[in-house]
């Protein structure tokens, strides 16, 4: 079985009203995902349900497992045969999968994890991982459903390109909002052959292959061993950190204030910054699209002229660690986010709202900033 990307099939597609979870599921199938396993947990559940409905018709398999640990390990097994395979969950469920994610990183099995998070408190576990060893997880944080559809396909590509686990950082708004989307297969370039994949004694090459975190090989055919394997993997993650940074920014050129946010929160920041710009504030925004690798060089450059770098995230302060590490001047960094959870516990709370974001940004600006002051005052 080959799962290498086919040649481009980018015929024009119509605008379809789809719930985010359904759009992500169909995008994953378009990317060639043929195995999905997971355990229900809101707001991830609708993605699992959509996969259960759509994958069999596409010739794939979806399994509703007994636990997240089981699901992640089934995906590890399917992916080791070369299939494009994915799992997902959120919060605690992703935490349960971390041992498997670490194994996949260290034994170089490409797979995709859909973290349809309840909020932004999974930043650390998305970017650092809870597993052991010298690895990171490529993590993409879309700001809305159309971008999540695109990221879904990019994550399968990056997983295969580098033989690593990759992660989508979704949230309740992305999972549940319905918007018009155009679904089509996206192409991101050629990929190396999966000549490492287990292909069976019959029908395949018949050659014995080994997928092992320690890479010690066999008595007759020794591998590089843990020292060689883990040095090589560490170097691979260094390369990814250099080459796969993605970010977006606006109004940076003359901004005194730069607001940094990711995922859905960045969409709210973008909206409020547009308002404040129209009112005369010298303010811009910066959005990491890859949470790991964090867009370090772009952030340093974007904050070169800033007097204030405001970090808005829906947690007690996680991404702010990365912002402090890479910002042009650490003394300019202020936290304006916070923990904010809905009454159900399953979604964002009241802080993810344009008036709230606006109030937090304005509270961090000096009193003379904006339309109230003269141009001379504004330039102070």
């Amino acid at each position: 079985m080959t799962t290498h990307p086919a040649t481009a099939t980018t015929a024009a597609s119509e605008l379809r009203l789809m719930e985010g979870s359904a759009a992500i599921a169909e995008s994953a199938i378009l990317a060639g995902c043929r195995f999905f396993a997971g355990y229900p947990m809101s707001p991830f559940t609708p993605l699992l349900e959509n996969m259960a409905r759509a994958l069999p018709a596409a010739g794939g398999v979806c399994i509703n497992c007994e636990s997240e640990i089981e699901g992640a390990n089934m995906v590890l097994g399917a992916a080791s045969t070369g299939a494009r395979a994915a799992t997902g969950s959120c919060g605690q469920g992703i935490a349960l999968m971390q041992e498997t994610i670490a194994e996949a990183a260290l034994n170089e099995t490409p797979l995709v994890v859909f973290n349809m998070a309840r909020n932004q408190q999974d930043y650390f576990q998305a970017t650092r991982g809870g597993g052991w060893g010298d690895y990171r997880t490529i993590a993409l944080a879309p700001k809305d459903v159309p971008e999540a559809v695109e990221h879904t396909q990019l994550l399968f590509h990056l997983a295969d390109r580098y033989r690593v686990p990759t992660l989508l950082y979704g949230d309740p708004l992305i999972a549940q909002t319905r918007v018009g989307v155009r679904l089509r297969r996206l192409e991101f370039g050629d990929l190396p052959p999966k000549d490492w994949a287990l292909d069976g004694a019959r029908g395949g090459t018949g050659r014995s292959r080994q997928t092992w975190t320690w890479a010690m090989g066999k008595a007759t055919n020794p591998g590089p061993g843990p020292d060689g394997q883990w040095k090589r993997i560490a170097a691979k993650f260094d390369e990814i950190a250099r080459t796969e940074q993605r970010s977006e920014q606006r109004y940076i050129e003359d901004a005194d204030t730069v607001v940094v946010a990711f995922g859905s929160a960045a969409k709210f920041v973008e909206y409020v910054v547009d308002e404040l710009r129209a009112e005369g504030h010298r303010i811009g925004w910066f959005r990491p699209i890859t949470l790991w690798p964090f867009p370090s060089a772009a952030l340093a450059e974007a904050t070169r002229g800033a007097r204030r770098v405001l970090v808005f995230e829906l947690n007690a302060g996680q991404m702010i660690d990365d912002v402090r590490q890479y910002v042009h001047d650490r003394s300019t960094v202020q936290f304006i986010g916070g923990v904010s959870i809905s009454d159900t516990g399953l979604a964002f709370g009241a802080l993810l709202d344009a008036p709230e974001v606006r109030a937090r940004i304005l509270a961090a600006l000096p009193a003379t900033a904006g339309t109230g002051g003269t141009s001379a005052e504004r330039s102070l």
Binding site: L17, Q176, T177, R178, G180, K267, T344
Partner: protein
């Protein structure tokens, strides 16, 4: 045909509607129907739902944004150009974020129009009573949607009918005819009161 007004953002040609009610009134379904109808007409549309775990009687809200270009609107609306209040038990008769002068369509079988004040363009429709008279008490939401669409002209009436039918699961197909009558009756009772989406 349709004039859509900005929701206040930099010329964005987007129209934002909030629908409030309680679980069981079809609030989610009419939001979905309008969004599906707009999408089928080639417009850009977004639907953001907000409801609890209760099947019936709990708060049920939905926001719909329709535009002619990719939308800039947020899934949590900072302001709205119109509101439909099917029941005011949870959100009150006037949503906080409704723009002054906006269209406020009330189900006056349940919501007392006197509670709506004078800051908005209030249109009252006895939706629950009309639906009951049609022999389809579950279709009060479609009465409101038919009235709202006749007032604003956001989509063609037939697009709403088509969208409603496309969203019915197979075991609810028997409701297509009464739902269609509910949509059309809602439009008839506000005939002559059209306010357009551009006011």
């Amino acid at each position: 045909m349709t004039r859509m007004r900005s929701i206040g953002h930099f010329g964005a040609d987007e129209f934002a509607l909030m629908i409030n009610g309680i679980g069981g009134q079809g609030v989610q379904l009419i939001g979905k129907t309008l969004t599906q109808a707009a999408t089928a007409e080639g417009k850009h549309a977004m639907l953001a739902a907000d409801y609890g775990g209760e099947m019936r009687g709990g708060p049920s809200k939905v926001s719909v944004v329709i535009g002619s270009a990719p939308l800039r609107a947020l899934p949590v609306l900072p302001s709205a150009d119109a509101a439909i209040i099917a029941n005011d038990k949870f959100g009150g008769a006037v949503p906080d974020r409704l723009r002054p002068g906006a269209l406020l369509l009330l189900n006056s079988s349940i919501v007392d129009p006197a509670r709506a004040g004078t800051a908005h363009r209030v249109v009252a429709v006895e939706a629950t009573a009309i639906a009951a008279a049609l022999g389809a008490s579950q279709a009060s939401g479609f009465v409101l949607l038919g009235a709202f669409n006749a007032l604003t002209g956001l989509v063609a009436e037939q697009s709403l009918v088509d969208a409603m039918i496309s969203l019915l699961p197979p075991y609810r197909r028997q409701h297509a005819e009464t739902n269609t009558r509910a949509l059309r009756t809602g439009a008839e009772v506000v005939a002559g009161a059209a306010v357009g989406a551009g006011r």
